[in-house]
C-alpha cells in the first residue's frame, strides 16, 4: 500500500514537472519550425532567427539590454561589496534599520517601484532614456547582489587578514591582496545576479525608458501584446532565454566553488 502511494506521488511530481517545462520547451522547439503555424511541425529551419538577426531594432534592443545589464552589474558589485562589509563586520546603532531598508527593494511590489521612479524623473525633469533605466535597475539590483556577497563574507575566516597584517600589509593592501581574491567568486556571483535581474526586467524599464529606448523584454512585450504569438517572437524569446540560462549556470558554478 505504501509503495503504491509513493508511486502515485512520484507520478504526480513528474506530471507537475512536465507542466512546468512543456510550455517553455514547446516555445523553443517551435522557434525552429519551418512554418508560420505554431503547432504543425514542418521541418527544421532557422529562418525566424535569420529575420531576427536582420532586424536592426532587435539588435538595438539586445545591445541596450547588455550594456544596461553590465553597468548595473558593475555598480551593484562595488556597492554591494562595500555594504556587505558594513553589515557583516560592524555593529552600530540603526544597523537593523539599515538592514530592513536594504530588503525593501526586494519586498515592495515592482510596479510601485517603477512608478515611483517615473514620478521622480517627471518631478526632477530628467528626460527618460537609457540612463534613467540604468539608475532604476541599480537601485533594485544592489539589494540582490548584497545578499549573495554577504553570504560569502559571513563565513570568511578573518585570520588570513590578520596574517597579512602581521606580514606588513596595511588595511588596503590586505583587502586587495588577500580578502578580495578570496571572496571574488561571491562578488562575481552577485554581479551576475544583478545582471540577470536587470536583463530580465520589464516593469521598471517600461516605466522609465521613454519613447526612444528599448530593451529585449520591452520588445518582446510590444510584439506579444500587439501581434500575439508568432514564430519570430518564439525565436526572440528563445534567444533571451538562452542568455539567462547561461548566466545562471555560471552563477551556479561560482557558488559551488565555495568549499
Amino acid at each position: 500500500m505504501k509503495k503504491l502511494g509513493d508511486k502515485i506521488l512520484a507520478g504526480y511530481s513528474g506530471l507537475m514537472f512536465a507542466f512546468l517545462y512543456v510550455p517553455i520547451l514547446l516555445m523553443v522547439i517551435f522557434s525552429f519550425n519551418d512554418s508560420r503555424l505554431l503547432a504543425v511541425w514542418r521541418g527544421f529551419s532557422l529562418r525566424w532567427y535569420e529575420s531576427l538577426m536582420a532586424d536592426p531594432t532587435v539588435w538595438a534592443a539586445f545591445y541596450n539590454s547588455i550594456w544596461v545589464g553590465a553597468l548595473t552589474a558593475g555598480v551593484s558589485m562595488v556597492l554591494g561589496t562595500m555594504t556587505a562589509f558594513v553589515m557583516v563586520r560592524y555593529s552600530f546603532r540603526g544597523k537593523s534599520l539599515l538592514d530592513s531598508a536594504l530588503y525593501f527593494p526586494i519586498v515592495i511590489p515592482e510596479i510601485t517601484e517603477a512608478l515611483s521612479l517615473l514620478l521622480f524623473y517627471v518631478f526632477t525633469g530628467i528626460p527618460l532614456g537609457g540612463v534613467t533605466v540604468v539608475i532604476g535597475h541599480i537601485a533594485f539590483a544592489i539589494s540582490f547582489a548584497l545578499i549573495v556577497i554577504r553570504a560569502r563574507l559571513v563565513g570568511f575566516d578573518r585570520s588570513v587578514e590578520e596574517a597579512a597584517k602581521s606580514l606588513g600589509a596595511n588595511e588596503l593592501r590586505t583587502f586587495f591582496h588577500v580578502t578580495l581574491p578570496i571572496i571574488l567568486p561571491g562578488v562575481i556571483a552577485g554581479g551576475l545576479l544583478a545582471f540577470t535581474v536587470s536583463y530580465d526586467d520589464f516593469i521598471k524599464t517600461a516605466f522609465t525608458a521613454g519613447p526612444g529606448f528599448q530593451t529585449l523584454p520591452l520588445r518582446i512585450y510590444a510584439m506579444a501584446s500587439r501581434g500575439g504569438v508568432s514564430p519570430e517572437l518564439n525565436a526572440l524569446a528563445t534567444v533571451t532565454l538562452v542568455v539567462s540560462l547561461m548566466l545562471a549556470v555560471v552563477r551556479l558554478r561560482l557558488s559551488k566553488t565555495q568549499s
Binding site: 505504501k2 502511494g5 506521488l9 512520484a10 504526480y12 511530481s13 507537475m16 514537472f17 507542466f19 512546468l20 517545462y21 510550455p23 517553455i24 514547446l26 516555445m27 517551435f30 503555424l37 505554431l38 556597492l79 562595500m82 555594504t83 562589509f85 558594513v86 560592524y90 539599515l98 536594504l102 519586498v107 511590489p109 510596479i111 510601485t112 517601484e113 512608478l115 515611483s116 521612479l117 514620478l119 521622480f120 517627471v122 518631478f123 525633469g125 539608475i135 541599480i138 544592489i142 540577470t196 530580465d200 520589464f202 516593469i203 517600461a206 516605466f207 523584454p217 518582446i220 501584446s225 500575439g228 504569438v229 517572437l233 518564439n234 524569446a237 533571451t240 532565454l241 540560462l245 545562471a248
Partner: protein, 284 residues
C-alpha cells in the same frame, strides 16, 4: 590613534545609503506628495494638502479592482499550495537518490523571466496557439476555443509562474523534518493520514507561511500575467496603475492608488511577521 571603526563603517556604507536615499526612498516620498496633491502639473511643490485623490479611490471602480486582485492572489496562493505541497514532499522526503537533480529542476524556471514564461503559455493558449491549431488540424473543432483573455487563463498563468516560489520554502521546511518522527508516530498507531495531519503538516507550518507570503504579496501587484493572458474582467491593480500612469497620465490618482497598494502590502507583511513571532512564542 587608529581610525575608529564607526567612521570606517560610515564611509563604506555611505555610497549605497546615499544612492538608495536618492533613487529609492526619495521617489516614494514624491509619490506620497503627488497622492496628496502637493505637486502640481507644472512640477511645482505646492503647500496644498488634499485627500481628494484618496476619496476618489473609494467612489470609483477601483476598490473592485483591488478586491479582484486580492481574490486572484488568494486563489493563486491556495492553488500553488495544493499543487506544490505534494511535489515538495516528494522531493524532500521520498526521493533520495535524485533529490539534488529534482531541486535543480525546480530552480531552473526561476532563471526564466515571468515575461518569457507567460509568453510560453500564450503560445499554447492563444487563438493561433498550439492547442487550437492542433485541435483544428485534427478536425476536432471548427472554430478556435477561447482559452486566453479570461480569468481562468490568468489564474493558470499565475500558478504557472509562482509555483516555484511556493515549492522552495515548502521543500526547505520539509528537509528539516526529522523522518524518525513519522516512524515514531507510526509505531504509536497513527496511519499515514493521521501522521500527515498530526505530525507533518504542523511541522511544515513555517514553510507554508513563507511560501504563501512569497506568492501572495507579489501576486497582488502583478501586471504582466493579467495583461498578456487576461481580458477586461481580469483587470488587476497592476494593470490599473499601468493605465493610470502610462495611458491616462493621471499621476495624482495613480499615486493615491499606489500608496494604498503599498500600505496593503505592508499590512499583510506586518500581519505575517506577527504570526511568525507568535508561533515562535508558542513553540517556546
Amino acid at each position: 590613534m587608529r581610525r575608529s571603526p564607526k567612521t570606517n563603517a560610515g564611509l563604506l556604507a555611505s555610497p549605497t545609503v546615499v544612492y538608495l536615499a536618492i533613487f529609492f526612498f526619495a521617489p516614494f516620498a514624491i509619490v506620497l506628495l503627488y497622492s496628496f496633491g502637493m505637486i502640481d502639473i507644472f512640477r511645482q511643490l505646492r503647500p496644498v494638502f488634499t485627500f481628494e485623490y484618496y476619496f476618489e479611490f473609494f467612489s470609483s471602480v477601483v476598490p473592485g479592482v483591488f478586491a479582484r486582485s486580492l481574490l486572484m492572489a488568494f486563489a493563486t496562493t491556495v492553488a500553488c499550495l495544493l499543487l506544490g505541497y505534494p511535489m515538495a514532499y516528494h522531493i524532500a522526503v521520498k526521493s533520495v537518490r535524485r533529490k539534488e537533480t529534482l531541486l535543480l529542476l525546480v530552480i531552473i524556471p526561476f532563471w526564466v523571466s515571468f515575461l518569457l514564461r507567460t509568453y510560453a503559455l500564450m503560445t499554447i493558449l492563444d487563438v493561433n496557439g498550439i492547442i487550437n491549431v492542433m485541435l483544428s488540424n485534427l478536425g476536432l473543432i471548427s472554430k478556435p476555443l477561447s482559452l486566453i483573455y479570461n480569468p481562468q487563463a490568468v489564474l493558470l498563468g499565475m500558478v504557472y509562474n509562482y509555483l516555484p516560489f511556493m515549492i522552495l520554502p515548502l521543500y526547505a521546511s520539509m528537509e528539516k523534518l526529522d523522518k524518525s518522527l513519522l516512524e515514531a508516530a507510526g509505531s504509536l498507531g497513527a496511519g499515514p493520514m493521521r501522521s500527515f495531519l498530526r505530525v507533518t503538516l504542523p511541522l511544515t507550518r513555517s514553510g507554508i507561511g513563507a511560501g504563501s507570503i512569497l506568492v501572495f504579496v507579489p501576486a497582488v501587484g502583478e501586471f504582466i500575467i493579467p495583461q498578456l493572458l487576461g481580458g477586461t474582467e481580469s483587470f488587476m491593480v497592476g494593470n490599473l496603475i499601468w493605465t493610470l500612469f502610462l495611458k491616462a497620465r493621471n499621476l495624482w490618482f495613480g499615486s493615491a492608488v499606489s500608496i494604498i497598494l503599498i500600505a496593503l502590502v505592508i499590512l499583510i507583511i506586518g500581519l505575517y511577521m506577527k504570526y511568525i513571532s507568535r508561533g515562535e512564542e508558542m513553540a517556546i
